[in-house]
Homo-oligomer: 133 residues x 2
């Protein structure tokens, strides 16, 4: 697949055991591990616990980001993986998360982002020394 | 439009003046203001500066998230606004950002997220007291 600046996977996954979606700690472990197995470069991450249950999280990557939001009452996680560079990294990270959460149904979309950028585009975001605000 | 758990706008915007996309400070001001005008509830935000130019940022919202990545050399920003609850909030925030950045071309997609959740779904994520990890 020709890639302009990045690949964005949007996956809404259903039928997941609620106990996997209720607390940020479990999801943090899964998402951070997906970043490692996908060989992605984490800049920062934030995870939040909602009451009574449910969590959200974002991981800023040198290659763009991962984000998720859960609705345990529906066995649902909405997951986004947006990566620049090697387009297979998003697939690897996604497959890891899917295999751990074991949804019974997935709505899966994959978009090219920045598809109209010049064809000379290098397959990576400018990488330097990230500076936290 | 019937909404399950949220609306996700994906907008790749081209032809933006590079000086608007080079530094995180300018983008932070624009994104934070979009959250305010959209009447969205910020939990946290992170912005990063890439060298020599370019920036990324994410805002975790009670209603989901906003994220962006810039390629000043192409006049490009990839922008995501994912909001639960009132589906017009994402539109209002998007339109603010668009009107400030004044792109010459936009690739715009809008997806329902969690569209297969039960029809009894309340149009909001569980809201409680977010706890930072």
């Amino acid at each position: 697949m020709k890639v302009a600046v990045g690949i964005h996977i949007l996956a809404d996954m259903y039928g997941i055991k609620p106990e996997l979606l209720e607390t940020k700690e479990i999801l943090m472990d899964i998402i951070e591990e997906s970043v490692r197995v996908g060989n992605l470069t984490k800049i920062s991450s934030d995870y939040y616990q909602f009451e009574p249950v449910g969590a959200s999280g974002v991981v800023l990557l040198a290659e763009s980001h991962v984000s998720f939001h859960t609705w345990p009452e529906f066995g649902l996680i909405t997951l986004d993986l947006f990566t620049c560079g090697d387009p297979h990294k998003a697939d690897v990270a996604f497959e890891y998360i899917r295999d751990v959460l074991r949804p019974t149904e997935i709505e899966f979309k994959k978009h090219e982002r920045g598809a109209k950028a010049p064809e000379t585009t290098v397959l990576a975001q400018p990488v330097g020394n990230p500076v936290k605000s």
